[in-house]
């Protein structure tokens, strides 16, 4: 059985194994520095569907099918699907899995949903309630723009701290046994709101949540940054990352060269016109399920702390003058 460690970390007894993972991305991500690690690059932003929302579900379903295929499991082996996205009512996920016929939980943790699903799936497996669980998330630049910002063809202006929503989906198959990296402990995050109001500066809004979870994880486990090969945040972007490093430094934690952010890895910030980098559920999910898993396979990574970050805002609350509550969940993955 799992054991609570310190204030918010849970050490897993049955360490769930990542037996398969897949990342499907769009054209722009396919032109980025991690292109060769992705399982598939779909150039058509509609992915053969009629709407961007349906396209996002298509990305999700393709990632799920690919991950399942790579894990060697079949749909009948899967006990639960834990899935989420950015769209209202999490419809990219629910429409993607409506014909799959597997018990399903829809999650909303904004861009932190990948680590939220891994945290919950790990606990489900450790409790004995499940043997195989699918964690899948998606985001789509076009569906996110129309829900959160402006019509695509409108000449809206991007501010110097804005980020670019990643088009794609990532899926991970967790199993109680098998070959692959294991999840050894998880640190669910608290909601942190440091009063940032600018929805075009989500990196700065989320950085305190990431710092909070990282500090809690290190304190609970009694470890130092040196004991990790990588502290991998989800989508803080270049400015949010700068704020995270600064916050940790002020709390006596030197991240040295250990901190990396999926938002700055998935795009070439100088070349791809994404301002501060990528964002969206798929940002951390696709980087984790492709490039990071590949590095585990090549024995280049032994232990990482994966901390996907989410800004839990809605356009309505922002228009009402509210600030941005944020969250970050920590997942410790070991070879």
């Amino acid at each position: 059985m799992a054991k609570k460690l310190g204030t918010q970390t849970v050490v897993l007894d049955t360490q769930p194994v990542i037996i398969g993972s897949a990342a499907i991305v769009g054209k722009k991500e396919g032109e980025g520095p991690l292109a060769r690690y992705f399982d598939d690059i779909i150039e058509d932003e509609y992915a053969g569907e009629k709407t961007f929302e349906a396209a996002e579900s298509r990305f999700m379903l393709n990632a799920y099918n690919k991950a399942l295929e790579k894990s060697g499991k079949s749909a009948s082996d899967i006990d639960f699907i834990l899935s989420g996205d950015l769209l209202n009512q999490c419809t990219a996920a629910s429409y993607a899995f409506r014909d799959v016929s597997i018990p399903y939980f829809g999650l909303f943790g904004a861009c932190s949903t990948m680590s939220e699903s891994l945290v919950l799936a790990s606990m489900l497996i450790d409790s004995g309630a499940a043997s195989n669980v699918v964690c899948a998330v998606s985001s789509h630049f076009c569906s996110a723009e129309r829900q959160f910002r402006f019509p695509l063809e409108y000449g809206s202006q991007r501010t110097p701290t804005s980020q670019w929503t990643v088009t794609g989906a990532g899926a991970v198959i967790l199993s109680k046994e098998g070959q692959g990296p294991r999840i050894t402990c998880v640190t669910p995050g608290k909601i942190v709101d440091e009063g940032i109001k600018d929805s075009n500066n989500m990196g700065a809004a989320m950085a305190p949540a990431a710092a909070d979870t990282i500090m809690a994880h290190l304190k609970d486990t009694g470890r130092t940054v040196d004991e990790y090969d990588m502290i991998l945040t989800g989508d803080l972007g270049s400015f949010g990352s700068q704020m995270l490093v600064e916050l940790l430094k002020r709390n006596g934690i030197d991240t040295k060269d250990k901190h990396h952010d999926c938002g700055t890895m998935i795009f070439d910030l100088n070349r791809q016109d994404v301002v501060c980098g990528g964002s969206g559920c798929a940002c951390s999910a696709t980087v984790l399920s492709s490039y990071i898993m590949e590095r585990f396979r090549n024995n280049q990574l032994k232990r990482i702390l994966f901390v996907a970050t989410g800004a839990l805002l809605s356009p309505t609350r922002i228009k009402q003058g509210e600030t941005i509550p944020s969250i970050a969940h920590g997942v410790c993955i070991e070879a």
Binding site: K50, F150, P151, E153, G155, E194, N201, A209, D212, F239
Partner: protein
């Protein structure tokens, strides 16, 4: 969060460290782009006058042509790129107004002609119209009262 920084101190830190807009570049690009759009309008006006249109008709022809150009360039996915370069220089002229109405009309066609195009078309332009008309009514009233007094 960390006990070393208060909320207020964090917000100040973010403000201080956040990268700023490239004001000089943006102002220059807006000047050039806005100027270019107005020059096109001026050329259309001069052509119309050359063909014998009076001043009022020529102005109407110019407005109609510029609105069409804005709509056309939006439809062929070009206007957003002009805006990205030209910033306010592309948003302020009448072509930008046209872009703000055509782009949601295109975007929301998927939700149907009534609840999509019809309901969402003035998503961006709506506030401009509401307060533009409101301001013109006020101006009209002031003018009317002024006339009575004089």
């Amino acid at each position: 969060m960390s006990k070393t920084l208060s909320k207020f101190e964090y917000q100040e830190l973010v403000e201080k460290k956040a990268p700023g807009s490239r004001t000089v570049r943006n102002v220059l690009a807006a000047f050039v782009t806005g100027g270019a759009i107005c020059s096109v309008g001026q050329i259309i006006m001069m052509i119309a006058e050359n063909y014998g249109a009076d001043k009022e008709t020529a102005a109407a022809i110019t407005s109609i042509s510029m609105i069409f150009l804005g709509a056309f360039l939006t439809a062929v996915n070009i206007y957003d790129n002009i805006s990205k370069f030209g910033r306010a220089g592309a948003l302020v002229p009448i072509t930008g107004f046209s872009n703000s109405i055509v782009s949601p009309a295109m975007e929301y066609k998927k939700e149907g002609y009534i609840m999509g195009v019809g309901a969402q078309m003035f998503l961006i332009a709506g506030p401009v119209l509401v307060y533009g008309i409101f301001a013109s009514v006020i101006a009209g009233l002031v003018y009317f009262i002024w006339k009575q007094v004089i």
